[in-house]
């Protein structure tokens, strides 16, 4: 197989990996915030539900969660699965898993904003939603950029787990090529891909961090 053809095949896998990455973030970042707010809610039931959800998501392997999401509908409800569902199972599993991790990061970020900020806002008459959106949220974002960066970088590498349900992402393609061609080349390309992807993400996150450097907490 020519190098060009190999790259062509790999690039399809690459696109899938990037798509998994982007969709996971797009859904899990807001969902995580929602979970964090429920986790910090006064209602004990809601609080405990979220506590259990987060603990399960963090306490079991993502690979297992992925398999449950993928095979669950069939084994539990006997629903016949369309081949398209593979991809969406990956997205669902990743989103609910990452939302749990993000929720804990958000919660820490919100809790670390000093109570004086809430008090100042309250005395000035801000409503509770104004206080959260204008005062607390921006300060939380600044505090959580480093741990979020860690998770996002882990996510890049985690996209290769989609392999477990035979979604043709980067790693799946590389493995197929390697065994068909009996060479390491595809793996090397895959490695380079993940590495460069990481570099780009790290660069973007660093820029966000720099942009928020106009003030200090």
């Amino acid at each position: 197989m020519s190098l060009g053809l190999m790259l062509n095949k790999l690039s399809e896998g690459m696109a899938t990996s990037v798509l998994i990455f982007v969709l996971t973030l797009v859904f899990s970042l807001p969902l995580g915030l929602f979970v964090a707010l429920m986790r910090m809610n006064r209602h004990k039931v809601l609080q405990n539900l979220m506590r259990i959800y987060i603990s399960i998501m963090r306490g079991t392997p993502l690979m297992l969660q992925l398999l449950v999401v993928y095979f669950g509908p069939y084994y539990i409800f006997g629903i016949k699965l369309s081949p398209d569902y593979r991809f969406w199972a990956v997205i669902i599993a990743f989103v609910i898993n990452y939302a749990a991790y993000f929720a804990e990061i958000y919660r820490g970020g919100i809790a670390s904003v000093p109570s004086g900020q809430y008090e100042a806002a309250k005395v000035l008459g801000y409503s509770s939603s104004q206080t959260f959106l204008k005062i607390i949220f921006p300060q939380m974002v600044k505090r959580i950029i480093p741990p979020i960066t860690n998770e996002v970088i882990t996510l890049i590498k985690d996209t290769s787990l989609a392999f477990a349900v035979a979604v043709t992402e980067m790693f799946t393609v590389a493995k197929a090529l390697a065994s068909a061609e009996k060479t390491m080349t595809a793996y090397i390309f895959a490695g380079v891909f993940y590495y460069v992807f990481n570099l780009i993400v790290a660069f973007v996150m660093e820029n966000i961090e720099k942009r928020l450097n106009y003030y200090r907490l």
């Binding site: 309250k122 000035l124 008459g125």
Partner: protein
Amino acid sequence: MEIFSINDVRKSFSTQTDVLCGMSLSVQKGEVVAIIGPSGSGKSTLLRCATLLETMDSGELVYEGIKAAWNGPDGNVVYAPEETLKKIKSKFGLVFQNFNLFPHYSVLKNVTDAPICVQKRQKEEVYEEALTLLKKMGLSDKADAYPFQLSGGQQQRVSIARALAMNPDILFFDEPTSALDPELTGEILHVIRDLAEEKMTMVIVTHEIEFARIVANRVVFMDAGVIIEEGNSDKIIRNPENERTKAFLRKLNL
């Protein structure tokens, strides 16, 4: 005209004995009241109850004749509906010991945001007024700075400007100089003295006894959640009658 009064306020925190044991305070328009007293006597708690940061267990809270809270038939406190409280909140301001400026907002935004977003006032008018206030505080060149770029004294002046921008009828201060280096307390005391000269109604919790004597019309000495002695500032500080007041002032002078 009475601007503010709090009557027979009781407050305790879960486990402890009463922090405020049925004390009352009334402030007239243009009056400057200084509250002094040992650490833990309930001075901050009193201000926090007055500014609705803390709920009283029982008592009455009134701003300009409008009741914010009163005792219900069962003896427990009842607070006015949210709408009334919102109106009442625009009548007072609070300056914190540690400023509590919004770190992500510039000085100008710290001062203008609440008047624009909470009081829904005209932007142009608010900005103009804010710049005048900053000028008065000697901070004209700091409008675009962020709080971390300012000294403690400058930050506290911004927080005073932020409170004044809401056009409150009464301003509460909780030890406004305690978080500052000694050489910076002067600039804050100066600002407060200027406000007193403009007949701003103020209640100031402070450990600066000499400052209290000069600026306040009335000094209130608190201990263990009650008012021990109050009256003309010169008299209370120079010639206290109560033994506890004497002992407290003696300790400070050592």
